[in-house]
């Protein structure tokens, strides 16, 4: 069975000089409308880790993300983001909700979208009159340009977002989230609707960002295969319970069979892709979007 966190990661144990965990869930349970959605989920994520959140539709992937964001209350247990309660840690989390691309008619540049990541929630008029405001404005411009370069969007950042491809839009959205220097980046099905080469290159980009920016990346996905060579670990959710560990340890016939409580087979294709067979609902099916509870 895949192990959860190393014992010394547990709060209560003296943390000493060790860096604070980005994320820590202790027996976190969520009930919605009286129905248990998540039951006693334990999770420790360190800084700079790249983790995929997998599982069938309705397993509670989006609910888990919303609990980390402090958008749904816990029925039991605790969630700590950089040692703080989720609501206090909100500015430290970059979150990209599940979405359907931009309408073609959206007449705004990618650059403006990234800038909105920085100042989209600020009130008032963006006038830079005083010298210190000018300096800050210059720093912001530099930050925006840096993030656009980081995701490799320089060549299309000046075009209207509505006219860009899904992969290009996704890169700009990632830049938009990173521009605020979050410590954790949560993406809900960002690979959905992208073609395979784009899925792989966005996964590679997120791997690079996790390491270079020391951002912990949690990515909700249908299919683990485009992510395989980039991930540190996976969280596999089924029937409200969660398993955490390296891909090879979690996505195996015995562990998944126990998690689902049903006979599951994991097949490995010649090129190393994993196929989960026998799950009550196939985790890699692509298709209808689902409002998860």
């Amino acid at each position: 069975m895949a192990s959860l966190a190393a014992p010394e990661d547990r709060p209560g144990a003296p943390s000493g000089h060790r860096p604070l965990n980005a994320l820590s869930l202790q027996d976190a349970s969520v009930r919605l409308g009286g129905r248990p959605i998540l039951t006693a989920v334990n999770l420790e994520v360190s800084q700079g880790e790249f983790i995929a959140v997998l599982g069938p539709n309705g397993a509670g992937k989006s609910t888990l993300m919303r609990a980390i964001l402090g958008l749904v209350p816990l029925a039991a247990g605790s969630v700590r983001v950089l040692g703080r309660p989720p609501v206090q840690a909100r500015p430290l989390i970059g979150y990209l909700p599940q979405r359907h691309g931009f309408d073609r008619a959206v007449r705004i540049r990618g650059l403006d979208l990234v800038r909105l990541g920085l100042d989209g929630t600020r009130w008032g008029v963006p006038l830079a009159i005083t010298p210190s405001a000018r300096t800050r404005r210059r720093a912001e411009r530099q930050r925006i340009a840096d993030m656009i370069a980081l995701v490799g969007a320089e060549s299309y950042a000046h075009r209207p977002v509505g006219e860009l491809s899904g992969g290009e839009q996704q890169r700009l959205l990632i830049a938009q989230a990173l521009v605020r220097r979050p410590r954790i980046l949560i993406l809900d099905e960002p690979l959905d609707g992208l073609d395979l080469p784009n899925q792989t290159s966005v996964a590679a980009l997120l791997r690079r960002i996790a390491s270079s920016e020391e951002v912990s990346v949690l990515l909700v996905a249908h299919d683990v295969n485009p992510l395989l060579e980039y991930l540190d670990r996976v969280i596999y959710l089924a029937s409200g319970r969660a398993l955490t560990g390296p891909v090879q340890a979690v996505i195996t016939a015995p562990t998944l069979s126990e998690l689902y409580g049903a006979q599951i087979e994991v097949l490995k294709t010649g090129d190393g892709r994993l196929v989960v067979v026998g799950a009550p609902e196939a985790p890699h099916h692509h298709g209808t979007r689902h409002p998860e509870p």
Partner: protein, 282 residues
């Protein structure tokens, strides 16, 4: 005003324009309205809420006729009807999933509004100076008091829009993302509809209910053909609005035709000009 005539001496023409208080009032009101409509319209075009805007414009018809029937000032009727319709339309939420219901709700509000206006009109045909003024606007009757009330409304609306400019931009471009970042998207949606109602009511006093769109859509749409930058686009939109209104008022002064016709024609001409220029360049 006895036989205003256009002469090649532009300075003389200008002096003529400014020599009458009613014309000065009209120019002041037109200037205020042009700025307000251009800024609010820029967001309306970005949010693709033109149908909502059009419905609000039509609401000034029942507003004015209803006010006349109730013995209230017409301007008050304009504002009440537009704000009321904005609230009624708010019953449907903006968003990817609810577009169909939204359109249906707006259409229903529009039909009810027009029916009510028609009823009010037939109940007191004599009180109003005929429906033409209401539908196509006039600049002859603008009083100093009206200019002041326009200025008050416009200032409040523009300041409100300036304060919320960036959250509203985010909520307009990507409501889901805005919501996830803690922006009160549904309040901004409501606030913007109310602002749109105010802007429409103010504009229709000059252009008439049917031609509000000339000032609400054409300047921002033209600006968005030229630039994608939000703040530059808004500024260009204001410049276009001012040019259209000033030219329209001057042309109406020197001719027997209504001001709404000129404003609409100039707005359309400017849009076509820019669209052709863009097409030729690419």
């Amino acid at each position: 005003m006895i036989n205003p005539s256009f002469s090649p001496d532009l300075l003389y023409d200008l002096r003529q324009l400014f020599s009458f208080p009613f014309m000065v009032n009209a120019l002041e009101a037109g200037t205020i309205v042009a700025v307000l409509a251009a800024v609010v319209g820029w967001y309306m075009v970005l949010r693709r809420q033109a149908f909502a805007g059009h419905t609000l414009a039509v609401m000034s018809f029942p507003g004015a006729t209803g006010a006349a029937l109730a013995g209230l000032p017409g301007v008050l009727g304009y504002y009440l009807a537009c704000v009321g319709a904005a609230l009624a339309m708010r019953g449907s939420r903006r968003g990817t999933g609810s577009r169909v219901t939204e359109t249906a709700t707006i259409g229903t509000v529009q039909a009810v509004g027009l029916a009510a206006g028609f009823l009010f009109l037939s109940l007191n045909q004599n009180v109003l100076g005929g429906p033409e003024t209401l539908l196509f606007g006039t600049f002859l009757g603008v009083t100093q008091g009206q200019v002041l009330s326009l200025l008050g409304v416009a200032l409040a609306a523009v300041i409100g829009l300036a304060v919320a400019s960036r959250p509203l931009l985010l909520a307009s471009v990507d409501p889901e993302l805005a919501e996830a970042r803690g922006v009160a998207v549904s309040w901004l949606d409501l606030g913007f509809l109310l602002l749109l109602g105010l802007a429409v009511a103010a504009t229709s006093q000059i252009t008439g209910a049917l031609l509000v769109f000339a000032l609400l859509v054409a300047p921002p749409a033209t600006a968005q053909l030229i630039t994608l930058r939000p703040w530059l686009g808004m500024a260009l939109s204001v410049v276009f609005g001012l040019v259209i209104v000033w030219l329209g008022l001057a042309a109406a002064y020197f001719s027997p035709y209504p001001v709404g016709f000129f404003i609409t024609t100039f707005a359309f001409a400017l849009y076509v000009l820019v669209a052709v220029w863009r097409w030729v360049r690419s």
